[in-house]
């Protein structure tokens, strides 16, 4: 398949070529880096703004409502109105709060959300940094969010914040493990940690989601990603009906908006990484590569919003049990299935690994069910 450079790459190359005429080489290198950073720094917040719009629209439609439709046509200016409102709101800091921590937390939470964009391949040649450990970089940087959330929750000096923060940390640490484990088969198949190489290994329709192990690994990875960014049904850290707003109870105005921004940008990044790992990245016919990437990513984001429109929140023990009893053993065994797929010859491996996958799924499912807590008996409610 022949791919030409996407338009954004052509523009960047043109600018650099123009500058190369009269500037020394090192400034051109710096400007090249700056251009990538600027593109991400613009793309991230704009994505966040329109994801809020999209989420409100889609959830509204699912709940028999129109969603925002007042500001601008189809409510398209709603994010800007929200932004103005957020910026002009009073910034409230609790009297007993740990001022430094309380101030730093929203900043710290946005940094990893922006950093992970640097290794996502948005299109052919459209990766800001082609790290040879890009995948691990993504996973490592996204763990920094945990610390930032905990800083905010502890710095607020509010018991609901602290509860939300503790829940966030417990949940993120738990879901980190099946997430990494579900990525291992992909590394096994491609033999690389670079996101760009992973996408290139899937070109020509050899998407990993079409393999038995890839299908389940993609589901597990996506579910863990949803849990990592604290979205419904895993939104226990900010469960409104239980602990007010969780870790961002004491935040208002722009600081709250930063938490929100981090959540949405992480949601986009997780969807983008799922696309990169399992759905063939930017590969696809006819359309330009970045359009394919955005199409697939927004399809996954739609699924996230669909979850939010449908599912109720997990209970804490269900949440932990799901991660440790179902997902973790399943992803561990999934690695073996992926190894089977790798070593067997081509037509046989589909059958063998498919059967192995089904057997493992059934075993893990029933093993985890047996241990699940017995049905509660209500003594006083009857």
């Amino acid at each position: 398949m022949e791919y030409s450079d996407p338009i954004f790459v052509v523009i960047k190359k043109g600018i650099l070529h123009f500058l190369h005429g009269f500037l020394p080489e090192w400034t051109v290198v710096i400007i090249s880096i700056m251009l990538s950073i600027t593109a991400i720094a613009i793309f991230g917040p704009v994505t966040m703004m329109y994801l809020t719009w999209l989420e409100r629209k889609v959830v509204g439609r699912m709940q028999n409502r129109w969603g925002p439709n007042r500001v601008g046509i189809f409510g398209l200016l709603q994010p800007i109105a929200d932004g103005i409102k957020m910026l002009t709101k009073e910034d409230i800091v609790p009297q007993d709060a740990d001022k430094v921590t309380h101030f730093l937390a929203p900043v710290m939470v946005v940094i990893p959300a922006l950093l992970v964009f640097s290794v996502i391949p948005f299109g052919r040649g459209m990766t800001a940094v082609n790290l040879n450990v890009g995948l691990l970089f993504f996973l490592a940087i996204s763990t920094l969010t945990t610390i930032a959330i905990f800083m905010g929750s502890w710095g607020s000096r509010n018991k609901f914040s602290l509860l939300g923060g503790m829940r966030a940390v417990a949940q993120m640490v738990s879901y980190e493990i099946p997430m990494v484990m579900s990525v291992v088969p992909v590394i096994l198949a491609t033999g690389t940690l670079s996101t760009v190489s992973i996408v290139e290994a899937q070109l020509g329709g050899k998407w990993f989601i079409f393999t038995p192990w890839g299908f389940f690994a993609a589901i597990v990875f996506f579910l863990c990603g949803v849990a990592e960014v604290n979205r419904t049904p895993f939104d226990l850290p900010e469960g409104e009906s239980e602990i007010i707003a969780g870790f961002h109870t004491e935040y208002s105005g722009m600081k709250f908006a930063l938490f929100y921004m981090a959540e949405f940008m992480s949601a986009f990044a997780i969807s983008g990484l799922t696309v990169t790992l399992f759905l063939g990245g930017w590969g696809g016919p006819v359309l330009p590569s970045w359009a394919w990437f955005l199409l697939k990513t927004y399809a996954l984001i739609f699924i996230m919003i669909w979850f939010r429109g449908t599912l109720p929140r997990f209970r804490v023990d269900q949440l932990m049990g799901f991660a440790w009893k179902l997902l973790l053993p399943f992803t561990l065994l999934n690695i073996f299935v992926a190894a089977l797929w790798q070593i067997l010859p081509s037509p046989k491996n589909l059958l063998v690994s498919g059967i192995a996958e089904a057997v493992i799924l059934v075993i893990v499912f029933f093993a985890s069910r047996k241990d699940s807590p017995t049905k509660r008996t209500y003594i006083f409610a009857d």
Binding site: W26, D98, V133, L136, L139, A140, T143, W154, M166, L193
Partner: protein, 169 residues
């Protein structure tokens, strides 16, 4: 490209200074939670050092393991134990002045001796590319026995930690 090298060097020195300042904060701040946050900064600075040594894989592992796992554990332990924000409790014992003097003397001699030593730099390893594949090969071929031992140690430690940390039924 000389300017870029200068910038990289400046960045490394800045990261080093930030790391040292954060390390001082870890041992001197009164609020133990702030200490943990400063320790995270130290670990990130050490990861930056690894990147300057062209050990990107190791830097990422450092962030993933230390910041993601160990620091979360430490913060959980801090939360579970004590009154953290109470600044009236003294956080240092009486040895602080003595140990400060001894360690300062140690540092002076140490830096002096390091500067006087002439290091034989190995040009081959300087240029070598150590990525995840090379490390994996090393783990699975030459160092496979220590690798297995260390995994057993880790499992034993985790089981022990669970047994120790479990509340008595």
């Amino acid at each position: 490209m000389d300017v870029l090298h200068c910038l990289a060097r400046f960045g490394f020195i800045a990261a080093t200074l930030v790391t040292l300042a954060a390390a001082v904060m870890v041992v001197s701040l009164r609020n133990i939670f702030h200490c943990a946050l400063a320790l995270i900064l130290v670990l990130l600075g050490v990861a930056a050092t690894y990147i300057s040594l062209k050990a990107e894989f190791f830097a990422v592992i450092q962030i993933l393991l230390y910041v993601g796992a160990i620091m979360t554990l430490v913060i959980f332990a801090i939360m579970l134990t004590s009154k953290i924000a109470d600044t009236t409790v003294p956080q240092t014992n009486r040895q602080s002045l003595v140990s400060f003097a001894i360690l300062a003397m140690f540092d002076v001699f140490f830096i002096g001796s390091v500067i006087k030593t002439s290091w034989k730099v190995n040009a081959v390893t300087m240029a070598a590319n150590v990525d995840a594949k090379v490390l994996g090969m090393a783990f699975m071929n030459e160092y496979v026995f220590p690798f297995e031992i260390i995994s057993v140690v880790l499992i034993v430690a985790l089981v022990g930690a669970i047994i120790l940390g479990r509340s008595d039924q």
